[in-house]
Symmetry: C2
Subunit: 464 residues, 2 copies
């Protein structure tokens, strides 16, 4: 977002890109207007924003300004914005709005967005909101809430277009033109059998090109990919990407079509999935950007405690060799190098392995090949860095044996690091544990302990 | 992919999910058939696979089996599979196939996929292939190749449906039913002015519901979001997500519509964007899962060299205090704890900050608030871990002063870590550098040096 630094051409796009959106300037203007209590101006500016930008604006402001902004815009908040908000900010807003206005907003949202918003509410908030919405809207929402978080059932739209195979294109068109309860958006017409099971689909572009007399069953794509409502959204996302689906039916245990998953609902899932791996490997359990200081401190604390234990374990290993260190202080000076190089090399492998497991590019079918590859990479880089650090040490301390000791420890630790970097996530995955969550700790524990033990142990052997 | 360990219900989905796809069993069967040279069976199995699964199969096999598989299936490789392959595997396959057969495949692909495949080829390979395709196909491909990598121009489809605003729905339908050169897939009908500038669009579902006499201009959505072909795909992806676009026109400098970006082309961009941050923070420049051992070793080496320098810098700092360590070996035993805790705390902040910059959730508008938040988190966790490690040290070495020293160093380093974790990426971003690429090294350099210096320095002051 640094238009200033970017070259002219890019700048044009930036402007183009930001023009519709939330430019730093607009944010500034609104902030100033807000602080000067020129609420009319704020309302005007705010009304011009897309729901997603309205949401971002609330996230950019601090607690007080959010409150003030909400008062300023009154009822003018786009319901969609509620669904776009990061949870902590949404919680705050819901508090400020109160069940009545939240219910009004929920009633206007798509079912999947409405369920998404409701799910984040507290028990009693949820009850209050549901009580305030009309019967016909409440029923499907309650059904949606019945499905587990991160399931296809939560993500699916309950409105879709389904017709029998014997209908002609003309009948379909007339039905579409007259029907009242059609979804706001659909990409395909589904073809169902008498038991309401999806047997095929017709993409709308094909339907548009088909003459009225033609039977829908004759132009449909058969055997659609179907999902079960309990299915994990990450598995759904994987198939949507793998098979380039724009939408796919969701069926209940009897095979009856109950909803449809659309590609644009998958975008966020795909991003969050990849983002999750980064956060979890880095030891943050969630995107805490908009969390309170205390919540953030608490969740990060739990991960750091585990790392403290790891670090103390490493110190215990060093403790075994305090007598050696007393005699050869150079060992103390150099020992972090071996450990940290191992940690870095292992993390490289870990990142690749964790993502590959997530995208199903690393499976039982190629695990052995990948492990032996990492072993080789470890050996090669191990030798390379053994030479580098060995010579550097020799020059620095003019002690060839010390150089040899650190070189040997380096090779060993780099090899262990490479193997640990892939074997740990593979093992966790086989054990049914999400490799992203815990791999990193195990890895650094291994590379620290091996690194310190190998270097100090060899030092004790050859330098005393 | 561990159906065995998962509970029954999930298992059903797994089966369901994998059923269509590349189950471990299918991979095994094909591998065995291949090794037994039962090529007929291999062809049969392979022909039943979706292009994306055919690509995965090649990636799962090693070099020799790929060669053998290619011979086995002969010309039966789905052209789409070429576009789905990871680059290193595709390079190998292109070599094996030769320009003639690659040209045949390219001719069958969508333009954006064809350009994607061609772009990865070597200079002379590209020439050879282009020479082998028909004139009318070559022209648009050459145009596509003219756009920079990762630009909207590369991603866009050049075929789209555009009609003047005064056309009636009837005219549009008749045009669609008769026209020859329509795209295989489209979600919207674009409305253009006499200068061929997009002035609106009609989603196909709305078009289907519109009676023949109605003017297209009266039902269109006005002012479409448009992209420039030079625009970075990550910015395009950001807007597609932010504004829930299913497709959007691409226009040249005169505003003339030259192509269209579709949401399903964005899925991979969105995933790669988030994935990139993980890889770069972890020090892998690229997804090297399918790279050769040597290529992998080389690219990872360059990052590890930088980290070696960092580690040596830290050692130099320790070197300043060798006299102190000689007298109080406990310092050597404990010093890695302070440094590693700082590194871990900093990495937590770094991951959040880097992603937030990528998704434009962290901007000039809220930077100060986030920085002071990280400062507070650092102070709070710093105090918490100072108490923990201070007491642990006191118990372990029954030396209260040593406990006090490590506690003080811990607080200091955790605070510095939190600040560095957000200020470094913010600074790099402002400087126009991708914060994901280099933040991690700077961070560990800071946390190591501050960690060792603070702990050993305080030790020298209070323990001698």
């Amino acid at each position: 977002m640094n238009e200033r630094d970017s070259v002219a051409e890019e700048e044009d796009e930036e402007e183009g890109a930001e023009g519709r959106g939330l430019t730093p300037d607009i944010v500034r203007e609104i902030r100033v207007a807000l602080d000067d209590e020129r609420f009319g101006e704020v309302r005007e500016q705010f009304a011009g924003l897309h729901a997603a930008d309205q949401a971002d604006l609330f996230e950019l402001f601090d607690r007080d300004r959010r409150q003030k902004l909400l008062e300023a815009i009154g009822a003018r908040l786009d319901p969609e914005a509620l669904a776009e908000l990061e949870r902590p900010v949404r919680d705050a807003l819901v508090e400020m709005l109160g069940p009545k206005r939240v219910a009004e907003a929920v009633a206007e949202l798509n079912e999947d967005d409405a369920v998404y918003v409701l799910d984040a509410l507290s028990e009693e908030q949820q009850k209050a909101v549901l009580a305030a919405v009309a019967e016909d809207i409440r029923r499907p929402l309650e059904e949606g809430l019945a499905f587990g978080e991160d399931t296809a059932g939560r993500l699916m739209q309950r409105d879709f277009v389904a017709v029998p195979a014997y209908w002609s294109m003309g009948q379909v068109i007339d039905y579409l033109r007259s029907a009242e309860d059609l979804p706001d958006e659909f990409y395909s017409i589904y073809v169902i059998d008498p038991a309401f099971r999806p047997i095929g689909w017709v993409p709308l572009d094909r339907a548009m090109r088909t003459k009225r007399p033609i039977r829908i069953g004759d132009i449909m794509e058969a055997d659609p990919v179907v999902f079960r409502p309990e299915m994990d959204v990450e598995d759904v996302a994987y198939e949507v990407r793998q098979y380039d689906l724009t939408s796919a039916p969701v069926v209940d245990e009897s095979g009856r079509m109950i909803g449809v998953i659309m590609v644009d609902d998958i975008l966020d899932v795909v991003e969050e999935e990849a983002e999750e791996d980064l956060f979890q490997i880095s030891g943050v359990r969630e995107d805490d950007l908009n969390r309170s200081v205390f919540r953030t401190t608490r969740t990060r604390f739990s991960w750091l405690v585990i790392n403290l234990v790891t670090a103390i374990l490493a110190s215990v290993v060093i403790g075994f060799f305090d007598a050696t260190i007393e005699q050869v202080v150079a060992l103390a000076v150099l020992m972090p190098i071996v450990a940290s190089m191992g940690g870095n090399a292992g993390t490289q492998t870990l990142a690749i392995a964790v993502r590959a497991l997530g995208t199903k590019d690393l499976t039982a079918a190629n695990a052995m090949r990948q492990v032996s590859k990492e072993l080789l990479v470890g050996v090669l880089n191990g030798i390379a860095f053994a030479i580098l650090i060995g010579l550097a040490t020799y020059v620095w301390f003019s002690d060839p044996i010390l150089g040899g000791v650190i070189a040997a420890a380096m090779v060993l630790n780099m090899i262990i690091a490479g193997l640990a970097g892939i074997l740990i996530p593979l093992g966790l995955d086989k054990a049914g544990v999400d490799p992203a969550v815990s791999s990193a700790v195990f890895l650094t524990t291994v590379t620290d302990i091996v690194g310190f033990f190998a270097f100090l142990g060899l030092g004790a052997l050859f330098l005393l």
